[in-house]
């Protein structure tokens, strides 16, 4: 029944795509119907996913598609149900949001139609990835998802950076896809067939299991944006239309996570703790690298994209812990870390899509995501500003929001390292936890910067000055996600309980102790060891807000018609404020740039600039920082140059002279005859 629901979801997503194609040229109904079908698809996948998660039962079927001897196997179990629910959770608001967001494209049907069509395909591809129960269908779905999202990334292809990003994205996706294919190939090489049941039964020796794991890590890590394979992500996610950016950053990276879990925890099954160390190290490195780069970005959407890298690092850090514990036979702790990682993935899906939607609303209204041209938007876009603030609080992992709950669980899992026998592991896990702490703190800094520069202070450009509140559907899409962030943060026990079923189905162990004390208390190991009551914390924060409201009400009655007096800012008596006196995005992160210098490749660019009218006659200089990904220079540029050099070498054989060609033919013949004798 659940499986049928999930298949219906795929059908609806495809229908959305089809409707978009059929209604080409009638943007109004095209937009409405396509997003309606997409929303229904999201709802269906949400329902099916939650149902599968709550029953914990796996359902399977086959479709008469695929190879003649390998029909498409579909299966919905708790793990895929969970991720299906994530798709639903994000695509539903995305559909609501997208309906309003895409209105700007109404007068450009040549852009709108592909955008809508590929959005449907993209969502269908993601849903199919989760249902696929054989390597062939999985790969089809996987690449369908990549390809469709590639076209979405390239939506604004008149801009060079969009083209570059799309190119890089598809290239890396393809390379990653090949690695995944090879990892399935290793499994299938030892097993009987390509359906997951055979792969699961495949008897691997440790060496090949390691190879398979490494390939899966590389392949899925590319999509998840693990350093150093992340290079495409900060390029691709920001340039897509914002409702798609939300899906890209919120959901597609989760598909990578799903694939990794499916292959490593399910198909390989017998994990080795050393893999855990690798994943832990890569996860921690990714988290730190991601947040450091996020911190210095000056474009809001790019900042969010780097923050996705960071959060995927955190999730993989959790998975690494799970692998270490499982590899050491600590199934319970493995399940704890596993659940924590999944929880963080769910949270990230919510708050990152919320933030991208918020950034999209800003882009929509202020036509700008460059932080140095924003400012003061909270006064002009109060709803968007408020919802974006909730997103920032969540992603900065502040209690009682959801980001905190999951990171807290990861910390708790890490702190159980004392129960391991190996001293090296006991020492390295807390170090990873410290990196996580640093990451969390830097992330808070990042989002103070993002919010403070974009929404607070004064407008830095006419666009920002004249921005107005976004449409209802844009706000509604964000509001759904913001509520979700809050709900997941305040009621973590319910989530952990549900995720326990995933871990039970996959690892054979759930977390009875975590929720043993009811919905109010989250006690991952035991109440004495650690407990967290998000509802009470939330109540405390609410009390503070209530106090403010009470004071406001009382004073309002007292002072009757007199509003709070507004005066010019004091600013140590420096005189009138101008927007240009504010701290900018670059200056905000300057101290951290100083401290961590060497992490980035920063080009400072200072040029004489035109003086602006009305600002005196001082000498003007424009100062700009360009942050380049260090790994691009260190790894990718040489790689690309190497390919070109190899191509140049090889090209030497094609001289253009017929005699040379004949000579090749001649020599080949002689060589062959000599060989064959």
């Amino acid at each position: 029944m659940n499986l049928q629901g999930a298949m219906a979801a795929i059908g609806l997503a495809l229908l959305s795509s089809l409707l978009a194609l059929l209604l080409h040229g009638r943007p109004g109904s095209q937009r409405l119907l396509a997003f309606l079908a997409l929303g229904l698809s999201a709802a269906a996948s949400l329902v099916a996913g939650i149902a599968a998660l709550s029953t914990g039962q796996a359902e399977a079927t086959t479709l008469p598609l695929g190879l003649p001897w390998l029909a498409w196997h579909l299966r919905l179990d708790a793990l895929s149900g969970f991720f299906l629910a994530i798709i639903g959770l994000v695509s539903l608001p995305a559909a609501v949001y997208g309906w309003g967001y895409c209105r700007v494209y109404d007068d450009a049907p040549a852009r709108l139609t592909p955008m809508l069509a590929f959005t449907g395909l993209f969502v269908a591809g993601m849903q199919l990835v989760l249902l696929a129960d054989d390597a062939y269908a999985f790969m089809i779905a996987w690449e369908l998802m990549s390809l469709a999202s590639y076209f979405l990334v390239a939506s604004h292809h008149e801009r060079a950076e969009a083209r570059h990003a799309a190119f890089l994205y598809l290239l890396m996706a393809h390379a990653g896809g090949l690695a995944i294919l090879l990892s399935f190939g290793v499994l299938a090489g030892f097993g009987g067939g390509f359906d997951f049941a055979s792969l699961r039964a495949s008897p691997l020796n440790p060496l090949w299991a390691g190879v398979c794991f490494g390939l899966a890590l590389a392949g899925f890590g590319t999509k998840a944006g693990l350093v150093p394979l992340h290079i495409w992500l900060p390029e691709a996610h920001p340039v897509a239309p914002s409702h798609v950016s939300g899906l890209l950053s919120g959901v597609i990276v989760k598909m990578a996570l799903y694939g990794f879990i499916r292959v490593v925890f399910d198909l390989i099954g017998e994990v080795h703790w050393a893999w855990g160390v690798a994943v832990l190290a890569i996860g921690a490195g990714t988290a730190l690298y991601g947040v450091l780069y996020a911190l210095v970005q000056s474009d809001l959407k790019r900042l969010l994209a780097y923050s996705t890298v960071e959060n995927m690092g955190i999730v993989f850090l959790g998975l690494g812990l799970a692998l270490i514990y499982l590899g050491n036979g600590q199934v319970f702790l493995g399940a704890l870390a596993f659940v924590a990682a999944l929880f963080h993935a769910l949270n990230h899906a919510c708050f990152k899509s919320l933030l991208f939607f918020g950034a999209g609303a800003v882009l929509h209204q202020a036509h700008e995501t460059e932080l140095s041209r924003l400012g003061g938007l909270l006064n002009r876009m109060p709803w968007t500003g408020f919802l974006f603030l909730l997103g920032c609080l969540s992603i900065a992992s502040l209690p009682p929001f959801n980001g905190f709950a999951s990171e807290w669980l990861i910390f708790q899992a890490a702190l159980q390292a004392g129960s391991l026998d190996s001293g090296v592991l006991r020492a390295s896990i807390p170090v990873a936890a410290a990196v996580l702490a640093l990451t969390a703190a830097l992330s808070a800094t990042t989002f103070v910067k993002a919010y403070g520069i974009a929404f607070l202070g004064q407008a830095r450009s006419p666009h920002a000055r004249h921005a107005r509140e976004a449409d209802f559907s844009l706000r509604l899409g964000q509001a759904i996600l913001a509520l979700l962030c809050l709900a997941l943060g305040v009621l973590p026990t319910l989530v952990v309980e549900a995720l326990g079923r995933v871990s039970f189905a996959l690892l054979g162990h759930d977390l009875p102790s975590a929720t043993a004390h009811g919905w109010l208390w989250l006690t991952p190991v035991a109440a004495q060891k650690a407990s967290y009551s998000a509802p009470l914390v939330f109540a405390g924060i609410l009390l503070a807000v209530a106090a403010w409201a009470a004071v406001w009400l009382i004073l309002k009655r007292k002072r009757r018609d007199q509003p709070v007096p507004r005066v010019p800012a004091w600013d140590c008596g420096f005189g009138e404020l101008s927007p240009r006196m504010q701290y900018s995005a670059a200056s905000f992160s300057m101290p951290i740039q100083q401290i961590f210098r060497g992490v980035w490749r920063i080009r400072a660019d200072s040029q004489p600039a035109q003086p602006e009218p009305g600002l005196g006659h001082a000498a003007y200089r424009r100062y700009a920082l360009h942050v380049e990904d260090w790994l691009w220079q260190a790894l990718y540029a040489p790689l690309a140059a190497g390919v070109l050099a190899a191509a140049r070498r090889v090209a030497l054989i094609q001289t253009g002279h017929l005699r040379h060609y004949l000579l090749y033919s001649f020599f080949t013949l002689v060589l062959l005859l000599w060989l064959l004798r």
């Binding site: 004392g418 006196m581 905000f588």
Partner: protein, 334 residues
Amino acid sequence: MAASLVAAAPLDAAAPLAMNAAGWLLALAQTALFVAAAPLFAGWIKRVKCWLQNRQPPPLAQGYRDLRRLFAKRVRLADQASVVFRIAPYLVFGATILAAAVTPFLSVNLPTAAITDAIALTGFFAFARFFLALAGMDIGTAFGGMGSSREMTLSALAEPAMLMALFTVAMVASSTNLATVITSIETQMVMTRPSLWFAAFGFLLVAVAETGRIPVDNPATHLELTMIHEAMILEYGGRHLGMLEWAAQLKLLVYAVLAINIFNPWGIAHEDSASALGLAIAAMAGKLLVLGIVLAVTETLQAKLRLFRVPVFLMLAFTLALGGMLSFIILEAG
């Protein structure tokens, strides 16, 4: 091992979560005392410093007078101030009170302590800081932005060090619940462990940075280019400023109490009897007096660091905490 872990948790594992009205009332009272004592402790430090500097100290109650005056004053807002600016003092103050509420002050038998653990405690401070930094940027002055930027930078470095110190303690006690940690450290007489010494020093350094004391920040300065915390609250006045000042004092006290109770917990009450609580009050008061003196002396002897020297200071704290962790793992565990 996993099985033993679970089994190690006794059947009355729910005890810390037990809900009884008396316990909650007592917890409320303790929190109230905590909040009330904050200006006093700040005043004590100021007094000791004045003595050391041969100045005439203000009366001990000066802190309360200042607050009363501020709360009575009328609020004036800058033209550009948004709602974030207005709500931030409440949230900052509220979060700090929450932090105080979950910190065992006099008794470990504290139902509110179960709401969060050591990690979430840093979360509350982070929450407060987040809004404070936003408020600093809200008006759009250069000073506010500067303060926020510096505050966030330093806290980003301080937080891992702080957590590392707490992790060391948590691993020693195999719990992050503050009440359990304190009980465990007190009953096991673990103060002889080198790891805890490392952790304690690390924690103290972080505490200095986090509470904005010399050599990281100077709460008394209003010299534009050196201030951090003060730069963020430049534009505040009236009850808003009062709340922020009070929150800062409270934060200082929470850190002081944490340092005392985690690393030197003797005298803390284990039951809610009047005698135990009385002893606890006396012990705590005595320890706070001593700590205040120590703090004042160090502040007097030291000069404020340049901003870009502070990371080294924090790195030292982190290294100390890490050393504590490693020495626990290498020397003491297993």
